[in-house]
Symmetry: C2
Subunit: 344 residues, 2 copies
């Protein structure tokens, strides 16, 4: 039986086009059944522009929509029939194995916590971003925005959840887990990272100590743990730097005829480059620690990004990652918690 | 009379070569007198490999040296005759108008606080990084590592000091000051940024609100305020992303003959690009809030970076920036401080 994934059809900046094209690709290539959630007439109109007869795609109507301009907490309370709510209810009711949305991240996180609930033992769910590195593999960083103010115990849980996710999704036996800090020694960092270091080194995972920002993209670490404020800043700065580099190179390559010729000859290299840095290849950020599967994609997602997010949702559901997370959190040594209590 | 700048000749990764070549360039091009501080025989040997007769360069002997491997706090107490100590004492004694070091940043900050002391009213000195942006101007970010755990009042002072520095050094009449956060609304961010927002909006400077990581390099903001942990992570991530981009492009451009030809034709564009992102052009990070001028350069500084740091030290001294900072901090409304006290 194919897995069933619910997709918010009203989330992306260019919704519903990328969602519907992504769903079509997923249904064709991945053997996944997709429930497109949103305003039926809008989805139907776009869907009918593509050949889709026989494909396992259904529409589930949701009369409301949360936009990027809505305040998350308020919208989650006020718009209980939004595509985000309806999609998450499909997961809660067992009608879908996972939910994908490229909509308002804050609303998705708040609604997911409310509708799906958190796994036993989880203090805070965390959003894990997947990104490429110099050695051609992927790394993940968590949290990247679900929790802006964190305790050492939160970071400890993020480490455990992230390690399990990475192990399941990327097949690494002993993923290297690092703590994002400033300076390698355990005494370096701020109050939060210094206290977290003491907890992480007691865990039975492959903790490699502090990692610095410049190591993020070097491929020396698989799972990078940080609070949601720092993680979110880190992601957005990376976007900013990549944009700057593209801009400067483009401008510079336009400056003379010789360089323009050079550019034409080397442009396939630039296409490669864009693809390698393309977040849409990674398929969105899982929200870990929930009773259910919820993948948050970038608002600028294209069809490929949505297809990959559907693939990730389906793999997370099949890999039974939530059961592993529940077990992993139970295995956190009590000693660590006692030490923290004593410190406070 | 030329300004006199003391330069730590033992700091850079490749010391004393970049320091001495940078000093020679500064003495020739900037009309600055340079005191090279460090082990006399080492400096003399390197200096004598270059024509320097008649140039305003002197050697000031310092028998000890703090390395990158020394623990900052410990080394500052133990090695009281290090080149960093001796250089800073030259400033305190009025024999130099400023000090430049590419050595151990932690040690430089600790020694500067101890030897020069802080300006009246300053809670914490802050390290301000200068970096390029897409519109071809510079932006500064502070703090980038002097203070890892900060209060809203610290960030308020960073805003005032950074604004004055930017105004003096880059000639902007009303620099745009932003708070590094996640989300534009004043309710977005963590506890620190939300409380800091309330203080910054009461200041009489051009506060543009929260800015996100992706705006850092866009040129929409001149002075970016954050705590030293976040600022340091931000800088190092930027380095990491630039390295990744270079690596990916280089690898990609090597893949086929056509692309190699393309690369040869467009390589001057790459040279342009490197130059624009080259931190050595900016000349190092000033440590603001001290009774004296201290510029910290990257350990990987080349001669050009050292020359530019000497230029910056001389300009900061001439611009009388410390007097402006003292006055600026006095002008922070007492109302803001009272509001914070009431909140706590």
């Amino acid at each position: 039986m194919p897995s069933v994934i619910a997709v918010d059809a009203m989330g992306a900046d260019k919704a519903p086009k990328p969602e519907i094209e992504g769903a079509l690709q997923a249904a064709r290539q991945l053997g996944v059944k997709v429930l497109l959630v949103g305003r039926e007439e809008v989805i139907r109109a776009e869907l009918d522009r593509h050949p889709h007869s026989g494909l396992p795609i259904e529409i589930v109507h949701a009369r409301e929509q949360i936009t990027m301009y809505d305040k998350a907490a308020q919208a989650v309370r006020a718009k209980r029939d939004s595509s985000i709510h309806v999609g998450l209810r499909l997961v809660r009711e067992g009608r879908a194995a996972g939910f994908v949305t490229a909509g308002n991240t804050g609303a998705a996180m708040a609604a997911a916590k409310m509708i799906l609930g958190v796994l036993p033992g989880v203090h805070r769910p965390a959003l894990a971003a997947v990104f490429p590195n110099a050695v051609g593999t992927a790394s993940i960083m968590l949290d990247v925005g679900a929790n802006v103010d964190c305790t050492p115990e939160n970071l400890e849980q993020f480490a455990v959840m992230g390690e399990i996710y990475f192990r399941s999704m990327f097949g690494a036996r002993r993923p290297r887990v690092g703590l994002l800090s400033i300076g390698e020694e355990e005494t370096k960092g701020n109050e939060l990272t210094r206290a977290s270091f003491q907890l992480l080194k007691q865990l039975s995972l492959n903790f490699v100590g502090n990692v610095e920002g410049r190591d993020l993209y070097g491929g020396q670490v698989d799972v990078i743990v940080c609070d949601g404020f720092v993680g979110n800043v880190a992601l957005k700065i990376s976007e900013g730097v990549v944009n700057l580099v593209r801009f400067v190179l483009k401008e510079s390559l336009r400056a003379t005829i010789t360089r323009q010729v050079g550019y034409l000859l080397s442009r396939s290299a630039f296409a490669d480059f864009k693809k390698r840095l393309d977040y849409s290849e990674s398929g969105g950020a899982p929200l870990l620690g929930l009773k259910g599967v919820c993948i948050v994609s970038h608002g600028s997602s294209n069809a490929n990004a949505i297809k990959n997010a559907i693939r990730v949702a389906s793999e997370v559901a099949k890999g039974d990652i939530n059961r592993h997370i529940e077990a992993g959190l139970k295995a956190i040594p009590k000693r660590a918690v006692a030490a923290v209590a004593a410190r406070e």
